[in-house]
Symmetry: C2
Subunit: 529 residues, 2 copies
């Protein structure tokens, strides 16, 4: 678990939430964009004031010590940390609270808990850090449910420094993992925005994307082998740097979101901690040029560690920069060699498309804890806390992320932003902003990440958000995008996932689910049934 | 189809087989290593002299025009091009000949053929270039069979030059594909040893590995989306540069070896044709140093396009070099920038482990057709033809490939080479050589590729080879390796694949197979049933 007290209603830890001064400043900035909005602060209720029904489950005696029905604990496992989760918490809506929180201390505990749930037909939701923003951990169904919190399985069991890999239990949180690897000069180098509040098992189950823009940033590619407890037995793949022996077993469990089994441990590929780091920021007058430059870098084979293109709204709100066409943040890092020449070439490519270098910076020491000092990176990690401060003040703050081809981006982007703006017009009377950045870039296309800031009405913002989200999701699903690039499917993306997924694959996955989870207890409603 | 007449019994095209002079020279070189061996040449029989039973299948009238039962055609589809296939051809053993060869001209033909096979319960084997070296295309079972040759689906349907991707039919052969892409300055840059004699669909179905040592070389990573005809319907994934929407549909079909459906087309990621290329060869006195240097380069983040370590026997036989510890071939290439500085750093790393640079070469023009002028690369593409010349002369020439961690390599390698040598002692009275090279290197481990040259007895070399192969496969399976890194599973690797594959995954894959192929007609005996 990360240090500090976890917020039961909002993102992360209470100690890291915005201070009163920060909130005031944020409100002032936002009010400039959304004049006339009612910024009244609606703080969270006390958990003890909520009307939580008593647990309907009675675990067998042998498992009783692993299970708890404390109301505050159940409440904190009732949902993830999406905007709609946070607002429902603020409103004191206590629906879909799991009946028990089970905390296995060993893999055998996981086996025993699944055996009990299978034989009793009790739904069980594997729970890592609970930072899902897609309804992935919420028992959004009738009847009882167990939330299985894996945080007790948090050991680094073995480190192979020669092959640079470690066998790691799935319940470990990001900071604890990096703390264990740092003395060895190694890092998993996987830094999703939720890094401090999510676990290895959660990253694997949801195909998490890290902070870096290219190459080894997706958890899929960092995975050497996995161990998964399914109701039909334990699946363990071999430690292999590469294999062509049939369809990849790991790729079936990666992204299975708790529906096929409980990931208990994995051998993960590690990297040497970076020593050389260079970054630059580049501005563009036209959006077209900014995109062309970003594409050129993505297709150059230079493999920048950072290659984030912020549109003018995003650049203004989160990086404090006024730009006409876009702000491109490019960075390179290495544990082996200086990378200035890499950056030189990337800047050449940008200049060929009218890019003007605004800042360029080198660092000769390793990045502390994967964090960085840049305004934007700090802002990046603070964004969810800012979202919570605005959610308390009736703002609708939501994100949508997807991926598409470079060729299709312009039309796709126009369709999505038009749908978002039309929905904001419809639902919020037009008071809102839509921002866009590329979080990851591939040779064949970008992963655009949209932010929405809109003026809602207190008590209605969940419904307003749902309408906007549905409109945007329709646009994404109808125009060839993916309903999620790295946030996962969960329950919130399910209708559009079903349209995106090829029908024969749905049939195959359903059959696989039935083989591994014949009682259908694992995370019902997600992906499959 | 590649130019020239296809050999019915041996590798590739008859025009490319060894000349009499080349055969004589090869025999002389080999005789120096294996004195006393009987090098009598046993040429192939005429197909018309073989005792091939008549076809047992009568296709429906609507499909008759797509199907043929010509004996020579059926014979040439009866097996792949493994050593044991070639020798059985030389011996005139005509077992397991498919009853019909079906040649669909459109995707609808594929649908119709599968419908007929499903309703009649007739096994069907999807057939690309037929270059399988693992028994992947052989109807090794009782009862009739259809070989579905996809070579008629050979069009490049669309090219997206902005996103650098193309929609390509699965039956296209390597050279034809590159011919289509070359005028656009693009390349798939996928060059397996079988490049000229295998198809896109075959590469996808078997998770083929290309020539390059790191990064984008496996067909899996070059795949943007796939279209697959299954008996349960057509599965088409979206063109997405990245996605986190559930387990990847493509990753289920990649490596499915014709058991889940027939791949008809795919959107493939392309690259600009390389302009800058630099290569070097480095020698080492000790094997330990050679491995340490190779690992340092693999873990450096330099991403060489080539990083092949040949052991002394491999270096002598295929590169004509006498080295004490190993010969490392390193290369870099780019379409965007000069890569000398990359090579400089790789050579520094090698020098740190005692490596001595023997040659260094730059090329300023694009590689013609993915081929290169180096001795070793030419030798690489000629190896299967040399194998056939030796097979005719009672030699056992076989390869085994796998992957393991760096930490485990030394013991693993010792175990495998010991098993191979013991088997050669047992089966061939000790007359044989075992070679090793790394074909691909990963940050967490190498992919070692073993060659065996042993003196057999004419008429017994298949059985002798099978005994050696079984001994080596036992060693691989028993010591944590993969039974195949890029040759696929087929029928020859099946017993060890079953041990390697996690049981729950086997259950899931079997259930998926039943959902997609309820009649169980697709490539029976491979992977699943």
């Amino acid at each position: 678990m990360p240090a500090g007290e976890r917020s039961w209603w909002g993102w992360g830890n209470t100690a890291e939430a915005l201070t009163a001064e920060e909130s005031d400043a944020l409100v002032a900035r936002t009010a400039a964009v959304l004049p006339g909005h009612d910024f009244t602060d609606h703080g969270p209720p006390r958990p003890s004031d909520l009307d939580v029904p008593p647990s309907r489950l009675d675990p067998p005696a042998a498992l009783a010590a692993l299970c708890g029905d404390d109301v505050a604990d159940r409440l904190s496992h009732a949902r993830g940390k999406a905007f709609r989760d946070v607002v429902r918490n603020l409103l004191g809506r206590a629906e879909h609270v799991p009946d028990l929180v089970a905390r296995p201390r060993s893999e055998q505990d996981v086996v025993d808990l699944l055996d009990w749930c299978s034989s009793s037909g009790t739904p069980v939701i594997p729970y890592g850090g609970g930072s899902s923003v897609v309804g992935g951990v919420e028992p959004r169904f009738e009847g009882p449910a167990v939330s299985m919190d894996l945080a007790g399985l948090d050991a680094v069991l073995e480190v192979d420094t020669v092959s640079r890999a470690a066998r790691i239990q799935a319940g470990i949180f990001g900071p604890a993992l990096e703390d264990r690897l740092r003395p060895l000069g190694l890092t998993l180098r996987h830094f999703p925005q939720s890094f401090a509040h999510s676990t290895l098992g959660g990253w694997l189950a949801t195909r998490a994307g890290g902070h870096f823009a290219t190459l080894a940033t997706h958890i899929d590619d960092l995975t050497e082998s996995m161990r998964v407890v399914t109701p039909a037995g334990i699946s363990e793949s071999r430690r292999l740097p590469g294999s062509g022996a049939g369809p990849s077993p790991d790729r079936m469990f990666l992204g299975s979101e708790g529906t096929l089994g409980v990931i208990t441990e994995a051998w993960m590929r590690l990297q040497d901690r970076p020593v050389w780091q260079v970054t630059a920021s580049i501005t563009f007058e036209s959006q077209e040029d900014a995109i062309a430059a970003t594409r050129a870098i993505a297709q150059s084979g230079l493999h920048p560690s950072n290659c984030r293109l912020l549109d003018p709204a995003e650049a203004f709100i989160n990086a404090g920069a006024s730009v006409g066409g876009g702000l491109l943040l490019v960075g390179f890092e290495s544990a082996d060699h200086p990378v200035d020449i890499w950056l030189d070439r990337a800047l050449e490519l940008a200049a060929g498309h009218g890019g003007v270098v605004k800042t360029r910076r080198s660092k000769d020491s390793a990045r502390p804890d994967g964090d960085s000092a840049s305004t934007w990176r700090s802002s990046f990690l603070r964004m969810p806390y800012q979202r919570d401060a605005l959610a308390r003040r009736s703002l609708i703050v939501e994100t949508f992320e997807t991926a598409c081809t470079w060729e299709g981006f312009e039309e796709f982007h126009h369709t999505i932003t038009s749908a978002a703006r039309a929905a904001i017009d419809e639902v919020c009377g037009g008071a809102g902003v839509v921002t866009c950045r590329f979080t990851h870039v591939y040779p064949d296309g970008p992963a655009p990440y949209y932010g929405i800031y809109a003026a809602g009405r207190w008590g209605s913002t969940v419904g307003q958000r749902d309408e906007i989200k549905a409109a945007v999701s329709e646009a994404i699903a109808g125009h060839g995008g993916t309903i999620t690039h790295h946030h996962a499917v969960g329950r919130d993306h399910r209708p559009w996932y079903d349209r995106q997924r090829p029908d024969p694959f749905a049939a195959a996955l359903t059959a696989a689910k039935t083989a591994l989870d014949p009682a259908g207890i694992l995370n019902p409603g997600v992906l499959i049934r």
